[in-house]
């Protein structure tokens, strides 16, 4: 149920209730100012930039796109939706077991713990230290936020984090970077819609090269990012 003070307005599709409070809450959670520490994680992208595979806006887009569509982006969206609809503890177990390397485990565990600690300190909800997408899905459920919009925000924030890595390391111009985030936006929306059932049988990780980059990051000589 929406908070008593919120104004309920219909979405353009009329499918899910949306409140002005909901969008502002999501904008707050996925703002770089929310102390999740997303800026510290490159998801393995630093390896790809270091190796020269990713060197401009086009090659950055080519690295990020499969991560969103065939890797962590889509799978996190499934975990988020599964935690939203069902048993978050079960989704959490699978989410942690599904992380393909040590730094991926760290990335989802630490961001999840940071998100949960801040969120339960501000909102009156019981939110354990779940993995990041599970913590977000559970919090969205407890606060009655619209699922698909939550997932869109989550994915857009993930894409922004990765583009920011490119802006810092390639380096890439701010405008070029933001043009890329804008270009990836429809993809985030499509994935959010496709994963809304939270069917964990639909999990699939085939962003193989990015997964290997994340493994190789553990032994990268000079590292700016934690993953």
């Amino acid at each position: 149920m929406a908070a008593p003070t919120a104004t309920t307005i219909p979405t353009s599709t009329g499918r899910s209730p949306m409140t002005t409070d909901a969008t502002l809450t999501l904008a707050q959670w996925f703002s770089p100012a929310y102390p999740v520490g997303a800026f510290a994680y490159s998801h393995g992208l630093e390896t790809a930039i270091e190796g020269g595979l990713v060197h401009d806006a086009e090659s950055l887009r080519a690295w990020i796109t499969p991560v969103l569509t065939h890797g962590s982006g889509r799978n996190d969206a499934l975990f988020l939706a599964a935690a939203f609809h069902g048993d978050p503890a079960q989704a959490d177990d699978l989410c942690r077991a599904f992380a393909s390397s040590a730094e991926r485990v760290m990335e989802t565990t630490q961001q999840g713990a940071a998100f949960a600690a801040t969120t339960r300190a501000i909102w009156p909800i019981d939110l354990p230290d779940y993995a990041y997408p599970v913590a977000v899905g559970r919090a969205a459920h407890l606060l009655d936020l619209p699922l698909e919009l939550t997932t869109q925000y989550y994915l857009q924030a993930f894409a922004s984090t990765l583009v920011s890595v490119g802006i810092r390391l390639i380096p890439l111009g701010q405008t070029q970077g933001h043009a890329l985030i804008h270009a990836l936006s429809p993809l985030c929306k499509t994935i959010a819609t496709d994963t809304a059932q939270g069917d964990l049988d639909a999990l699939s990780g085939t962003a193989f090269l990015a997964d290997i980059h994340a493994m190789q990051h553990e032994t990268l000589y000079s590292r700016t990012f934690r993953t």
Binding site: D93, S100, S101, A102, E103, F208, L209, A210, M215
Partner: protein, 277 residues
């Protein structure tokens, strides 16, 4: 083990062809310090043969249907009883042939590793042909003290013959539990234009492999195994007793160049002879 001529392939995929069914169950038990067969059941197109020699009990799975196509069902269940060593491999590479539209071949594998036991799952690669459609599911249950080594490798089309996959479906899921708790899960769905999917997400690789080692010495093997990997493969320690490797290569031959040294290093004994051909 040459590639079947196209005429035979057509025979296999005609709708009137009876669907293959195969079921095999084996349990190893310890007797006088050796691992021997405690129970064995095999039906249909799945046969297990037990070559002599080697450490522990070796079981070689033979698919007498010659491959997997739409509508086939294969199920294998293997248990390494207390204090046994059981190694499972295949006689040849598994071939997933073209399937009739809407027909899926299903492969279900269940492994159990008891107290003080070791199980090695070392099948040879699975080769996906154009129009193949396979769904595979693996569940593993490990005792707190069990050791487990796992490899699955996949070759996408007969690369040597210039075949690339533009229409195929392969769904795979692996779940490993230790003392009932999920410690590793992986899933992949390759479908439709697999070549395009691999070009986008895997640098155009035509072969890939996953390796898992769940053993007390996993941590000690991380650095040595990294030394035999190349730029398109990686290793990571998911827990002090859990090592995960992922390898990509242009083709099956290239994959073995990296995979074999890694497996030799990780295996707690020699690799099955079927791997040495």
């Amino acid at each position: 083990m040459g590639d079947e001529p196209i005429t035979e392939l057509h025979t296999i995929t005609t709708p009137s062809q009876p669907r293959a069914r195969g079921e095999a169950q084996v349990t190893a038990k310890a007797r006088d310090g050796a691992s021997v067969i405690a129970s064995l059941r095999q039906a249909g197109s799945s046969k297990l043969v037990f070559p002599r020699g080697g450490a522990g009990l070796q079981a070689v799975l033979v698919n007498t249907a010659g491959g997997i196509t739409g509508g086939d069902r294969f199920a294998l269940s293997a248990t390494a009883g207390p204090d046994t060593q059981l190694t499972l491999t295949t006689q040849a590479a598994e071939r997933a042939y073209g399937a009739q539209p809407g027909e899926t071949g299903r492969v279900t594998n269940r492994l159990r590793v008891s107290e003080g036991a070791q199980l090695n799952w070392l099948p040879q690669e699975t080769i996906l042909f154009e129009n193949s459609c396979v769904r595979r599911d693996m569940k593993v249950d490990l005792h707190e003290t069990a050791r487990f080594m796992f490899v699955e490798s996949l070759v996408l089309g007969r690369v040597a013959m210039g075949e690339t996959l533009h229409n195929a479906a392969f769904h795979d899921r692996v779940e490993i539990r230790r003392a009932g708790a999920l410690i590793f899960a992986d899933a992949m769905a390759l479908s439709g234009d697999v070549s395009a999917q691999m070009a986008q997400a895997a640098g155009g690789a035509g072969a890939l492999a996953s390796v898992i080692l769940a053993a007390p010495n996993a941590e000690a093997l991380l650095t040595p195994v990294r030394a035999v990997l190349n730029s398109t493969s990686g290793a990571s320690l998911l827990a002090p007793d859990l090592l995960h490797l992922r390898l990509l290569a242009p083709d099956g031959f290239g994959l073995r160049q990296t995979l074999l040294p890694a497996l030799r290093l990780l295996s707690h004994g020699p690799l099955p002879r079927t791997w040495m051909i």
